[in-house]
Symmetry: C2
Subunit: 393 residues, 2 copies
């Protein structure tokens, strides 16, 4: 570790995380874990850089410091951002990058062989953006003495309950998203072009608020208007806002890669009754759900209370209504563990953090009023404080 | 197609693209192609949305309009952004999303069965961020009457030579990146915090220039200073710039998802002789490379001229020095086809677009002076005009 490496957590916290992961590995009889998810890599070692478009991983063993492995030009980034000894930062030559004749994972197999880790049970994250089918085939081909075991989300599950330092970063992200929504409300008006609004959202999100500087969010701002808001994930263009337009803003503050997503919807002028009805339904249902957001209750309890209440108002939502949040990299700010939906019986415990996401996409527009919360001893705490209603300007 | 769907290209251009892809499929005896790469999906159908964090694809057949398949809440986005008939927009239920008991690709197999496409030769993009090992396993398990064939980059290769409309969008992106670099140079000074600088880069990049509105780039701005610039892909924090600092800016303008990346380096005060030497080496070598950037020459010709000249100056670079660019989604603005390196014998033809990327990462900092170019009948054209030197302020 260079003297000026910028760690976001104490060495003790990284050690505790490693202990948790090793225990989870033991429970699944995994000897060696190949961690490719950039958020898991960061959580375990501090590694931070936009290098995940080429193959890289952290190798976790039971009796050895984690080993970072990646593209040669990214190894200095691992030196700069992780606590790892330089001997544990390994690199592959550049001809492996985006080649159609060899695969970086061919090199990883060699490395595992040299470390005598090409045997026993090796965990891999089968369902991950950064573990392609070809990556798996390469490991299968070369690691003939090992058994490859699915360890999807093994590390993610260890990240569910946040430390105080993690919560502090999420509260910084909350200050940022509050500032973003305040600025949107300040400047939105008929005639404003969507891309100018998007530019201001970015500026506020990255400039941050006071000492809470902004990092890039794992999902770009979504700000669809009118019919475009019938879709969940459209971004923006250069169209101009008009009087009567209803626009939702699905955005997140981000600080040191920790997120606080929060959505609000703004109507330019009095919204139609249908949207006022939808607002009432969403808020009632969300409060019914959040009444169950406390230790001892399950994700499903929250979801069922929400969905049942929503239906009494005549609205139906057929997708999940929330998920775990924290440290993340594109393309998803969710942790990809728990979901607020029927069938998820994960019990809530203090310091879990969730994005409660009761979005409604209707036949002529969308309504999003969401909350990011941390589970407390008694219930929950809203991370960000933004007026909890359909905003009208 | 809804009357107000916003297509970025004519139906004729989409049809011509489809013809090219079908011909490439025929050459590999592929009956049905499952396209998961979001940039390939967009290029083929117009589809645009931040929905690629859940599984989705475009199904290409020889005798049927392409079919979009994805998560239910994203189907309205496909209606809004593609030319496809609504009958060809298919959705899967939300319980498949990030589940540990079922996989969206289980559903895709069913859909392929109903379409009688669960036989013959099915092409899949084995090496792609959006085709996980688990996705492949699901298809393997269910499509027992079909042969899964590797079709990695099959569509990407059809995108190499740009149309006039595509070039127009890349020229818009060029105007944007020029404005971004101009603004950086205007405001950079000792005492400025990096995150404020990043916020301004975003604001300028999204606000764009005149009618050239900005879309989000597929790689976030990289602006490392000093020792952080020994690494290739670090982003920013809240540290303050100091006199004597050398910072590189690896950024891209983006318009309608088309990119024009361009890097420049700024020294606050007179740079050390070593950096002036590096500047001379990079520029000489880049010009030697670009002298070969013309029809009839190969990618390797460009690369060898570059690397050989660089070495005569006493500098060595052990990674590729460029790649194809165009339409892209995170996490990579490259097209993942050709690379400027030894061994790539792809012949250059007019309207190919390349990011010539002769970055040097030294032992105490980095130097990036790059150019995005389009191959012309006679040679090449620089897409963006930013002073081609180590900038000093």
């Amino acid at each position: 570790m260079p003297k000026d490496a910028k760690l976001n957590f104490t060495l003790e916290e990284y050690a505790a995380r490693l202990d948790k992961v090793r225990a989870a590995m033991s429970a699944k009889n995994i000897d060696c874990l190949v961690v490719v998810d950039p958020s898991n890599m960061a959580w375990l070692t501090g590694y931070d850089g936009w290098s995940f478009y080429t193959h890289q991983c952290v190798i976790v063993q039971h009796d050895h410091e984690p080993v970072w492995w990646g593209r040669g030009i990214d190894a200095p980034g691992a030196v700069r951002t992780t606590y790892l000894d330089e001997d544990n930062i390994l690199k592959y030559p550049d001809h492996f990058v985006q080649s159609d004749i060899c695969h970086p994972m061919d090199h990883l197999s060699e490395v595992l062989g040299e470390m005598k880790l090409d045997r026993g049970s090796i965990g891999v994250e089968m369902e991950n953006f950064y573990f392609s089918a070809a990556a798996f085939q390469s490991l299968q081909k070369h690691l003939t003495n090992a058994t490859l075991v699915d360890a999807t989300a093994l590390v993610n599950w260890q990240r569910l309950v946040k430390s105080e330092q993690e919560l502090a970063y999420m509260r910084s992200a909350a200050r940022i998203v509050e500032a973003m929504h305040a600025h949107i409300y300040d400047i939105i008006e008929p005639g404003l072009s969507k891309h100018i609004l998007a530019a201001e959202i970015f500026r506020t999100g990255i400039a941050g608020k006071d000492e809470h500087w902004g990092d890039y969010p794992a999902i770009m701002p979504l700000l669809p208007t009118g019919m475009d808001a019938t879709a969940a994930h459209l971004t923006w263009d250069d169209s101009k806002l008009e009087s009567g337009d209803i626009t939702f803003f699905e955005i997140s503050g981000c600080h040191k890669r920790y997120h606080c997503p929060l959505s609000r919807t703004i109507s330019l002028g009095t919204p139609p009754q249908k949207y006022l009805d939808a607002e009432k339904a969403v808020l009632d249902a969300m409060h019914a759900g959040l009444d169950n957001a406390k230790p001892g209750k399950t994700c499903e309890d929250v979801a069922i209370a929400f969905f049942d209440t929503l239906e009494t108002h005549g609205f139906k939502k057929d997708n999940r209504t929330g998920y775990s949040i924290g440290l993340s990299y594109p393309p998803d700010w969710g942790e990809r563990t728990i979901s607020l939906r029927r069938g998820d019986t994960t019990e809530l415990v203090p310091n879990m953090t969730l994005h409660f996401m009761p979005a409604l996409w209707l036949d002529d527009g969308g309504l999003e009023i969401t909350e990011s919360v941390v589970i407390t001893d008694q219930g929950y705490e809203r991370l960000a404080r933004v007026e909890q209603r359909l905003l009208v300007k």
